[in-house]
């Protein structure tokens, strides 16, 4: 029986490696077949790739500020506006970035980070999605960072993306049709068209709160100055009720452990002005100008 199981395991490993090799090397019209079959195995490239390229060359001063978070972060903090105010800013936000991945990014870039803005909003604190994990694994400049992210958020999809990364001999970055500026920032010039407001009604605090706590704890142990921030969001009365009654108490519970940390919450800092938004969830450049100016006032 033991011999049978051993031979099964050996054959299973060999077959597995053979299949990964085939999926990674067989191409149809220049694209590896793995990417064509499985949507959860993603191509390297996009904003995340460009952000990591810039990060490698970024030599921050003591007063440089790093931002972590989801698309709210990489579309909401413009390094040009901060530069005009004499502050270097680097945006490490990536699409759907969960706090678990943010925590790994902060840890792996510890030597560069002295000041940190953690961009939060209900959506990013509710679920631990895999979207950012697979993107970071495919794009991290250091394989060690990719392994670190995989270790902290091990799922079958993240494992597959790590395997695809390791088997990828000649990466071909995917096409990116948005306006990447530099230091991780993406500019959005479109305008929101209809007034739907936000749709959150129930909030289930998931594992992300634990990792928000870990980030704040890590920062406090490593003398990193931290601020929490939320940019203006489209809102309606039901969202306002939910935000104040269900979501905010959870954030305040964590913050009560860190009295030195300020939370700059600009969610309702506007009268639902559509011209600030590209969609119900994201600021456009006009909104970023408005928000960053207010934020800089607070940071001073």
């Amino acid at each position: 029986m033991f011999k049978n199981i051993s031979s099964y395991i050996i054959i299973q490993i060999l077959v597995f490696l053979l299949i990964i090799t085939c999926l990674s090397s067989i191409k149809v019209r220049g694209i590896r077949v793995w990417f064509l079959i499985n949507e959860n195995v993603i191509l390297e490239g996009g904003q995340t790739k460009l952000m990591f390229d810039d990060l490698e060359n970024f030599k921050p001063h003591e007063n440089a500020i790093f931002v972590i978070g989801s698309s709210h972060a990489y579309r909401g903090y413009d390094p040009r506006i901060f530069k005009n105010a004499g502050i270097e800013l680097f945006n490490m936000g990536t699409s759907g970035q969960n706090m678990k991945d943010s925590y790994t990014l902060v840890k792996t870039n510890r030597s560069k980070i002295h000041n940190l803005i953690v961009d939060i909003y209900p959506g990013v604190l509710e679920t631990v999605s895999e979207e950012s994990t697979v993107m970071l694994i495919q794009n991290a400049n250091e394989t060690q960072t990719a392994f670190e992210i995989l270790k902290n958020n091990f799922t079958i999809n993240s494992f597959n993306n790590m395997a695809a990364r390791l088997f990828d001999i000649k990466p071909k970055p995917m096409f990116f049709d948005e306006k990447y500026i530099y230091n991780g920032y993406v500019e959005t010039d479109t305008y929101f068209k209809s007034d739907t407001g936000s749709t959150y009604e129930n909030f289930t605090p998931g594992g992300n709160f634990k990792y928000l706590d870990s980030i704040l704890n890590f920062a406090s142990n490593n003398s990193i100055k931290v601020w929490l921030a939320t940019h203006p969001l489209k809102w309606n009365e039901s969202y306002k009720n939910f935000y104040k009654n269900s979501y905010l108490p959870q954030v305040q519970k964590i913050l009560s452990k860190y009295p030195d940390i300020d939370f700059f919450d600009f969610t309702f800092s506007h009268s639902n002005n559509d011209s600030l938004f590209s969609d119900a969830n994201h600021l456009n450049q006009r909104g970023v100008n408005y928000y960053n100016t207010m934020l800089l006032e607070k940071l001073k």
Partner: protein
């Protein structure tokens, strides 16, 4: 709990199976019942109450029917049980549909019959376990099954976790006695169960769920697509629904087999059928035979002449369509199958069997092709969100005649769709061989078995869509 999740595959299933064999026989039913309750409460715990209510009603009805010597009383108990079970189904599944249609009708004939809708979600698998429950009461009434006196065992008959949420819809004669049997661990049986589970999981996460991404976009954007792309969408959905549902059934049968239970086969290569009648003897067998035994035959079956036979079949298909969902799309889907079947009665056998074709192979393939495409056409109604969407899809499929591959316009990679179509065709050609191999009792450690199992496991890991996609039939 979903079969295609880490929690089920690596925690629930191994633990339940291991403890089942370790426990003394007299405690096993308690363990299985507890595990089934936990499995079901993973969805919405509150819906357990509805399940318990259905169990109490039909358990009591069974005993009352058996205890009564008066045929009239027996009939009353049966009617009471059937009505209350169907009422449960009506409230949760059909009430809003009925209310919406009454409201539409009242608007149409300018009357003021406003029926309020209720905000209620359909408990997972309600149609499946109510039908299994009904099957028990009817069999007891017919005297073909003794009433089960053990409430725990009866509850387990309805709640047995492998087939609780999407069948197979079992008969009491096949399952109830198995809960009293002492199952010992047989290596061959266990490995066959594992093979079935791997094959089912492969069909679900590798084929159905990857196709799901494509079919969702095609069906939601049919206006922008050409006839080839729309046909491709319907073709892919035909493969998706087969892999999704038969994948679930194989996992259900396989996980039960690992503990020594024998559940009925639910699918037997339906797309090789050469007639619609044959298709229904191969597709969702447990439901088809349920309707045959408890609706079609009691209505008179085929004993009352051709006209009545055709009418009976149309009734059964209409009810079957309605069973699937409270939407006109499902009713039309059922009606279409009823129509296909009826037409078959009026076309001369010579024409229907392609007797003018001499070559048997070509004859067989021509039949399979026609049956497959008739079924594919009906699936468009099954998949569409509304009748208007279905008609729009069909209209575009026959009017936008070109091969533009407009997939890019709806966010799909053309080459990705073509690769998936290739995989779907490859799957159809290999389905029979693997289906037969998997069900053959053989040593798990033969070279062929090891290689096939390793390939399946490797493809499940690397190509599976691990995004917790629900099984399509859970909604019924």
């Amino acid at each position: 709990m979903l079969f295609n999740t880490f929690d089920f595959l690596f925690l629930f299933f191994p633990l339940v199976t291991l403890v089942y064999y370790l426990l003394p026989h007299s405690y096993r039913w308690i363990w299985l019942l507890g595990a089934s309750v936990y499995f079901y409460s993973y969805f919405i715990p509150y819906y357990l109450l509805i399940l318990v209510l259905a169990i109490v009603i039909d358990y009591s009805a069974g005993i009352l029917i058996e205890n009564s010597n008066n045929p009239k009383h027996k009939k009353y108990y049966l009617i009471a049980s059937v009505v209350s079970t169907v009422l449960l189904l009506f409230i949760f599944k059909y009430y809003n549909f009925a209310a919406q249609n009454i409201n539409h009708l009242s608007g149409f004939i300018q009357q003021d019959w406003k029926v309020n809708l209720i905000s209620i979600a359909l408990p997972v698998g309600l149609s499946f376990h109510t039908f299994q429950s009904l099957s028990y009461v009817i069999e007891v009434y017919w005297g073909k099954q003794k009433a089960e006196r053990h409430f725990g065992i009866y509850s387990l008959y309805v709640m047995f976790y492998p087939q609780l949420v999407a069948g197979p819809i079992e008969r009491p004669q096949n399952v109830l006695h198995q809960f009293y049997e002492k199952h010992t661990f047989y290596k061959e049986q266990f490995t066959m169960g594992l093979r079935l589970m791997a094959w089912g999981l492969f069909k679900k996460v590798v084929i159905a769920d990857n196709i799901n991404v494509v079919t969702n976009r095609i069906f939601e954007n049919s206006t922008h697509l050409d006839s080839f792309s729309l046909y491709a969408g319907a073709f892919l959905f035909s493969i998706q629904i087969y892999c999704d549902f038969s994948g679930y059934s194989d996992m259900a049968i396989g996980s039960a087999k690992c503990m020594g239970f024998r559940l009925m086969e639910n699918f037997n290569l339906p797309y090789i059928s050469q007639s619609i009648k044959e298709f229904w003897s191969r597709w969702h067998i447990s439901l088809s035979t349920w309707f045959k035994d408890y609706v079609y035959l009691p209505l008179g079956g085929s004993r009352l002449g051709k006209k009545k036979t055709v009418l009976n079949q149309v009734y059964v298909f209409l009810i079957s369509g309605f069973w699937h969902g409270a939407n006109w799309t499902f009713i039309i889907w059922g009606a279409l199958h009823g129509l296909y079947n009826s037409i078959g009665h009026f076309i001369p056998k010579k024409v229907l069997n392609f007797n003018f074709i001499k070559n048997d192979f070509i004859k067989k393939k021509a039949n399979q092709f026609i049956v497959f495409n008739l079924v594919l056409f009906a699936w468009i109604f099954f998949r569409a969100n509304s009748l208007a969407d279905a008609f729009n899809y069909i209209h575009n499929m026959f009017s936008h005649i070109s091969i533009n591959y407009g997939f890019a316009e709806i966010g799909l990679k053309r080459v990705s769709v073509l690769v998936l179509i290739f995989i779907a065709v490859l799957f159809l050609t290999m389905d029979r061989r693997i289906h037969e191999f998997i069900r053959k009792e053989s040593n798990l450690f033969s070279v062929k078995a090891i290689v096939i199992f390793s390939v399946l496991v490797s493809l499940i890991i690397t190509c599976g869509f691990w995004g917790k996609v629900q099984f399509i039939y859970f909604q019924f």
